[in-house]
Amino acid sequence: MAIKTEPFVINIGPVHPSTHGVFRMRATLDGEVILDMEPVFGYLHRGIEKLAEGRTYTQNIPFTDRLDYLASMSNNLAYVMAVEKLAGISIPERAEYLRVIMAELQRIASHLIGVGAFLNDCGAFMTPFLYMFREREKILDLFEMVCGQRLTYNYMRIGGVSQDIPEEFLPALDKFVRQMPSFIDEYDQLLAENEILLARAKGVGILPKELAISISASGPVLRGSGVKWDIRKADPYSVYDRFQFDIPIGSTGDTYDRYWVRIQEMRQSVRIIKQAMEQLPPGEVLTEVPHSLHPPVGEVYGHIEAPRGELGFYLVSDNSIAPYRFHVRPPTLINLTALRDMMIGWKIADAVIIFGSIDICLAEVDR
């Protein structure tokens, strides 16, 4: 006699170690196999877009720190660049270079968390995560030197950056960029050919190239699927066109490729920082911008390649001191569109690592 079975629904999250914040996956299962999955979010919705419409352009910079708090520098950069485009402000060259250095350091720090948390999800509990934290700590020390903060930096300003780097910064940065490649080699030694990681991640949660484009994926999720698309190259901003670097891409679009792309991007970021240090010009770091900035009537869409994908700010100005509309294009919310497609047919243990491979930050998803 056949056993009668029926699918059942379980909630993974909102509070669960593998959801990286408050996120819920409402999964329909047949035994261990996922038949359907609905992501549920909004637990961290703070209404930042609405709040920003009531504050001046400068007052909104700290809000951007609190979007993707693992990549605050990148958020700062995307926002101030959008405002500068809107108001037609040009900034000193030294500030451009400092911004690039900070953004690339931030990419390394963010990928370290992304990869570390992904490996946590794979079951390598805490060991690789703490290896990665060792290096991230050094980046946070560097950030602390320049702005006194270790998480929400609020370092960039409309017109440049808040202050020049202190004397001890460049020697410390130099030491870091000389050490970092050997640390990445160490990760590769431990992980790249690790049998358990390959068995868990290779071929799992495949996101085909066409689907990745259709769902508007960006960042390592898009490039893991083999699409050579990086805003730094496709639409160069700041001074990125002066540096040489490659865009690593994956071949199959599985979870391993997304992991691999992040590791390679860290190597490229180190390359960019080295070049930026060599070219760093002397001079001012902040142009004078009126205290109550009111940009001319108009609108702007500014975007950058943040660690997690294309971060865009759509601002509408009505010539007042606050933006009329402040919209964030959140890369991780849009990357999550692919989650259901990637998960269906896989087991619940794989669901955790497929989700981890997207590397989301709920504060940005929910805003």
């Binding site: 979010f41 609405k50 769902i215 496709a234 294009r329 919310l333 569109t337 805003r367």
Partner: protein
Amino acid sequence: MTLALSGEDVAAKLEPQFPGSIIESRGNNLLVKSESLFDLASFLKTAPGLDFDYLTSITAVDYYDYFEVVYHLTSIKHNHSLVVKTRCYGRDNPTVPSVVSLWRGADFQEREIYDLMGISFDGHPNLKRIFLWEGFQGHPLRKDYL
């Protein structure tokens, strides 16, 4: 550099196919009638030379008299971009056609606009609130929501 296509050039390509559906073209913007938005969008996505395969972002702005829905389109193939806008009127049930069947990336973004701005997307497969809970009154991003 991503080339921002001129709205006028694109309008000239669209006009013979969709007479009267383009209201205005300025800079790299194209303002179109909401009735013809879906047909125009599918043309923009597939027409050779345009190939807007990537929907970068959708958002909406409340201008009191009307809502403007803004689509940022990009072509990864040709590395160019275009901004398409459409307007919908009335505050009770403003509606525009959904583009989820063209670009799946519109799914969560249209739900977000529905949730926070209160614009319905005709043809969306799963139009419900995304951040706020079912039963929440009002749409916070509207200008008259205080």
